[in-house]
């Protein structure tokens, strides 16, 4: 006994014209995708491409408002790039940024991993609120704390030393790293840890031997993310450090290459490109892991 008023199948079924329309719509969609992707890439990277060109321009070429900024009028020159490396402390800045970044990331992991583990695995009644509280630390920003922190930094004797950054930067990286790490750790199935505990390891041992290796890709993503936060930081670096050789890239480049009203534009642009490209490259390598971490943290957290 038929219940539904099912039309005989010939009616309503698609025709040849519909097929062609559908395939055209599909191709239009694909073209739209490529166009948007190219547009996004141009807007995102445009300034950097142009900065790269500028870095190699000669002065008369650059300081001529009628010249095409995207082409070299006199031939390109490396003189400004060389200036950056020879006559400024650029390499010192880069080196400072690097070792500060590494140390800060190390401290972040040292303090953050156990904290994340505690909040992810060891279910205490206060775990949930604590996790949220850590995130709320972000609401007390460097633009507020820098005044009092300069006092504290001076009191510890680290004023004007790069080490002050090593001390303070983890306040920026730890909250978000803990939040991300909680997500990664939660994604490791409990059975594996429990298996290790049955096999004879203590909770701590099980954690170190099973969870850490499995969450490693995620940990690496957090490392990269924390490093970009550190390299980008400006206020603290500006407020705590004056001597040139203690500065990091973020503050060194602007202050060294802008003397009063004189801007060493080509060298500035060269510095920008030289710093931007490697960081973006590494970040891109670990992008998938970072997204996985945000999935855990944002969607489930």
């Amino acid at each position: 006994m038929r219940v539904s008023a099912q039309a005989t199948t010939a009616v309503d079924v698609p025709t040849e014209a519909e097929r062609r329309r559908a395939s055209r719509r599909h191709r239009l969609g694909r073209t739209g995708l490529y166009v948007s992707a190219i547009l996004a890439a141009l807007i995102g990277a445009g300034p950097f491409v142009w900065a790269a060109i500028t870095a190699l321009k000669q002065d008369p070429d650059l300081y001529n408002p009628d010249n095409n900024p995207f082409v070299f009028n006199p031939a390109p020159t490396f003189q400004h790039v060389r200036y950056l490396f020879d006559q400024t402390a650029f390499l010192t800045f880069a080196w400072n940024t690097l070792w500060v970044g590494v140390l800060v990331v190390a401290i972040t992991l040292l303090l953050g991993m156990p904290a994340a583990y505690s909040l992810a695995r060891l279910d205490r009644p206060w775990s949930g609120p604590m996790g949220v509280a850590i995130f709320f630390v972000y609401l007390v920003p460097p633009s507020l704390l820098f005044l009092s922190l300069s006092r504290i930094v001076a009191a510890t004797g680290l004023q004007d030393s790069t080490w002050s950054l090593v001390l303070i930067y983890p306040t920026i990286t730890i909250p978000v790293s803990v939040w991300l790490l909680i997500g990664y750790l939660k994604s490791v199935p409990r059975d594996i840890e429990e298996q290790a505990m049955v096999d004879g390891y203590s909770r701590l041992g099980a954690f170190l031997r099973t969870v850490v290796p499995l969450a490693l890709p995620g940990i690496v993503a957090v490392v990269v993310f924390a490093f970009t936060l550190t390299a980008s930081e400006f206020i603290y670096a500006l407020a705590f450090i004056s001597p040139t050789h203690e500065k990091v890239i973020s503050t060194g480049v602007p202050t060294e290459l802008i003397r009063g009203d004189v801007f060493f534009w080509q060298s500035l642009q060269a510095a920008t490109v030289l710093v931007a490209v490697p960081i973006a490259f590494v970040f891109n390598l670990f992008l998938e892991r970072l997204i996985a971490g945000f999935t855990m943290g944002a969607v489930k957290g």
Binding site: S4, T9, A10, V13, P14, E16, R19, A22
Partner: protein, 349 residues
């Protein structure tokens, strides 16, 4: 005219290295319940998705209602699909879920849509759940919501992808029953994918057994069961599987329920064989006898299924003579596995 037809279908993955569908021609009859049966990886789900338009075939065409739909997106094909997970929209109520396809295709105002949705809900007896959200429903209830949503568009064909596998074993039997009854009431052609041969046998008007991207046999359940086209079908269908004994370059097959103690096999034409019994299992009133059979070909491990009505005492460790009626023997070529004849085989005994 068939509702769904597939001609010369080929689907490759991995730049041509994986032939998920390796040349399939299939046509449904109107109103039938066609089951695509096969082990995982055999291509049945890929075939279903290609019919739905979620995958594009590498070669060949899909026809719905006699018109070629290859290249059209799913929503232009007048199909309804139910996924294994039911894919209910978690943020919408049951009513909103059911109404969604009607909103998407347009042409009805709000009152009409709701009326249609309630009709579908009534057919599946879920009117009382209309304001709930999916996460508040049990597995069986979710299935019914998915079916109501499929029903509401008056599709030309239902495509169901293993909808029972997420249910508890206990629930599965009654859900199967409901599903079949539902389909018969509604009368829409249905293509149903499963790896469970019990489901297939119970639900299908016809079964297409798939393996390695090709259809091995297409026929009614009785046909597929009694006259399997090759050894794959013979061993995949039926539980426990058909016994296969190598004899003279061919395989002689007989189902466990046809292998009985000689004294219990009536009829003049029968083939006897001594069976050395290893162990006996008692399952739901039947006795499953595991042992090795000799005398007709190479010694082979077999299973005999003795119903409760056969009371002949059998003991483990003994050798007892069993027999199979001659009309129950099936023959297959040992190399190709294809169905063969009895010509030229001498069976001892």
């Amino acid at each position: 005219m068939s509702v769904v037809e597939v001609r010369g279908l080929r689907k490759d993955f991995d730049s041509g290295r994986v032939h998920a569908i390796d040349g399939i021609d299939l046509a449904t009859t109107e109103g039938e319940y066609l089951v695509l049966l096969g082990p995982s990886g055999c291509g049945k789900t890929t075939l279903l998705r290609t019919i739905a338009g979620l995958e594009q075939p590498t070669k060949g065409d899909v026809l719905i209602g006699g018109r070629i739909v290859t290249g059209l997106p799913p929503r232009a094909r007048k199909i309804a699909m139910v996924f294994q997970s039911y894919a209910l929209y978690p943020h919408k109520t049951v009513l909103q879920n059911i109404v969604f396809p009607l909103k998407a295709s347009g042409g009805m105002d709000r009152a009409e849509r709701e009326q249609k949705a309630r009709w579908a809900a009534g057919l599946l007896t879920i009117e009382h759940l209309l304001s709930r959200k999916p996460r508040q429903l049990s597995g069986g209830e979710r299935q019914r919501v998915a079916l109501a949503r499929a029903l509401v568009r008056d599709p030309a064909v239902f495509l169901l992808d293993e909808p029972l596998s997420n249910l508890d074993a206990k629930l599965r039997a009654s859900a199967r029953d409901e599903l079949k009854g539902f389909q018969q009431r509604v009368g829409t052609t249905t293509i149903y994918v499963t790896h469970d041969q019990t489901e297939a046998m119970g639900l299908g008007d016809r079964i297409a057994v798939l393996y390695e991207g090709r259809v091995r046999q297409l026929g009614e359940p009785v046909e597929v069961y009694d006259h399997p086209a090759d050894t794959f079908v013979a061993t995949f269908i039926g539980s426990p599987p058909m016994n296969l004994v190598p004899v003279d370059g061919r395989l002689v097959g007989f189902r466990p329920e046809h292998l009985l103690p000689t004294e219990d096999v009536r009829g003049a034409e029968r083939t006897t064989m001594p069976l050395h019994v290893d162990r006996i299992e008692y399952l739901s009133g039947d006795r499953h006898v595991y042992g090795t059979v000799t005398g007709i070909g190479e010694p082979t491990r077999v299973i005999a299924r003795l119903p409760a009505t056969v009371t002949t005492p059998i003991a483990a460790g003994e050798t007892h003579t069993f027999a199979v009626g001659a009309d129950r023997l099936r023959f297959f070529d040992a190399e190709s596995g294809q169905r063969s004849t009895a010509a030229g085989i001498r069976l001892g005994g």
